[in-house]
């Protein structure tokens, strides 16, 4: 008996080593079948998860621009699917050829009377004059010039901007305009007859008549109505869905059948 105790004493470190090693091996080889190991020995453990959480809350900022880019690409794919679906083909043949290119808005004026936007893609990416720019919520503007890698966009908040629009509920046509008296949050719609029943909060959407935007992209909601004296028309002020102070990422909308459409319009 004493000999055994002496033996254990002599090799006590080796025995502890073997025991711990044995324990480690049981962990290795029994891991996948055991629920307990999943809950205790895994990084989803609350305390250890916290370290990763804090870490990602810091390092996520480094990947922010990258993940933003990925999301934009994914969004543009989804939008192509959405606007090219069979439903839309029946309603509007224009919609079957819409392609979206994700872009970043690198500068945005909104305080001046002649405001312009710049985006970080140009003719090398397939962007041409008279293509539409839409943000995450609705219409932003129309491309007016492009270099190889950058383009300039005429936004709604510029006096030169004009776009045919449609009242979502009644379907009556109007013309979207902007002048210096409005702030960057509001715009005006002309050419809507007085007898159309339009209420505050109604949405105006793009009409598809110019061949730039397909029908159905949101522009703004009605804020106030005013009858123009001695005429059959009313002046409608809308609040734009896009806030020009906060735009960052957007899509260029390429309508592949635009030329064909414009040709028909001109022959009329």
């Amino acid at each position: 008996m004493q000999n055994i105790i002496r033996l254990i004493q002599k090799y006590r470190y080796f025995i502890i080593f073997i025991l711990l090693q044995f324990f480690a091996f049981t962990l290795i080889f029994s891991w996948k079948n055991s629920f307990q190991h999943y809950t205790f020995i895994s990084s989803s453990n609350k305390m250890f998860g916290l370290v990763y959480d804090i870490n990602s809350s810091i390092t996520d900022y480094f990947n922010l621009s990258y993940s933003n880019k990925k999301l934009l690409e994914e969004n543009s794919k989804l939008k192509i699917k959405l606007y090219n679906s069979r439903k839309n083909i029946n309603r509007e043949s224009l919609n079957s050829q819409n392609v979206f290119i994700p872009v970043n808005i690198i500068s945005s004026n909104y305080k001046f009377s002649n405001n312009f936007l710049s985006i970080n893609k140009g003719s090398l990416d397939g962007i041409k004059i008279n293509q539409g720019l839409i943000g995450t919520l609705g219409v932003l503007g129309i491309v007016i010039s492009c270099s190889d890698n950058y383009s300039s966009v005429l936004p709604i908040i510029n006096p030169k901007f004009e776009l045919p629009v449609v009242h979502e509920k009644t379907g009556s046509f109007g013309l979207l305009k902007w002048n210096e008296n409005n702030s960057w949050l509001f715009a005006i719609i002309d050419d809507i007859p007085v007898y159309e029943k339009i209420k505050k909060g109604d949405m105006f959407i793009s009409s598809g008549a110019a061949g730039i935007f397909p029908r159905g992209i949101e522009i703004g909601s009605v804020v106030s109505l005013k009858e123009i004296p001695n005429s059959q028309f009313q002046e409608i002020t809308i609040k734009l869905v896009e806030d020009y102070t906060k735009i960052n990422s957007a899509y260029i909308l390429i309508n592949k059948k635009q030329d064909e459409y414009l040709e028909i319009i001109q022959n009329q």
Partner: protein
């Protein structure tokens, strides 16, 4: 007391360095070749008189903490236990008994640079080989395992050297 605070802070720094920085380094296709195990450096530089029982428990728990972070229960714990167990015998093999007794802290100044490097690289090579054999669970890719172990043990030794030069003052250890 100063010794303990020193080592405990090194313990935390090494674990965070391993988990948050070295494990996240992305080298594309070569990523699988770059994974030096540096959490074991503390076990290597603890003073020779440390109780082996304590050393084993410390090694096991350090390995287990890394395992929890990496979701590989037992793997790192097992590899680090090897170091803790072999360290004493290796010290006895490389140095005289009297020489070891005089050393209060294991570092490049007390052991000498070349001997310290040999000592560290042998231990780290054993650890890495054991780790990769267990990870692959076969000898099928033996050449691959050996290449990985050599590269990573050299890298880990290099990191140990940097830590030594940064944090060990020459004056203190003479």
């Amino acid at each position: 007391m100063r010794y303990f605070i020193n080592k405990i802070s090194l313990f935390i720094i090494l674990i965070l360095l391993q988990i948050l920085i070295i494990d996240k380094v992305d080298l594309g296709e070569l990523s699988s070749y770059f994974c030096p195990l540096i959490y074991g450096l503390l076990i290597i530089i603890l003073k020779p008189k440390t109780n082996i029982f304590l050393l084993l428990i410390l090694a096991f728990s350090t390995g287990l903490i890394i395992d929890i972070f990496r979701d590989t229960p037992g793997l790192n714990a097992s590899a680090l236990l090897i170091i803790a167990f072999v360290k004493k015998s290796l010290l006895d093999l490389m140095f005289d008994k009297d020489e070891i007794d005089e050393i209060k802290d294991l570092n490049i100044y007390s052991l000498g640079l070349s001997k310290f490097l040999i000592f560290a690289i042998i231990l780290l090579f054993i650890q890495h080989t054991w780790f990769y054999i267990l990870e692959h669970a076969s000898f099928y890719m033996l050449m691959n395992i050996i290449i990985k172990s050599i590269i990573n043990s050299i890298l880990a030794t290099f990191i140990l050297l940097i830590i030594q030069y940064l944090f060990v003052k020459y004056k203190h250890n003479k």
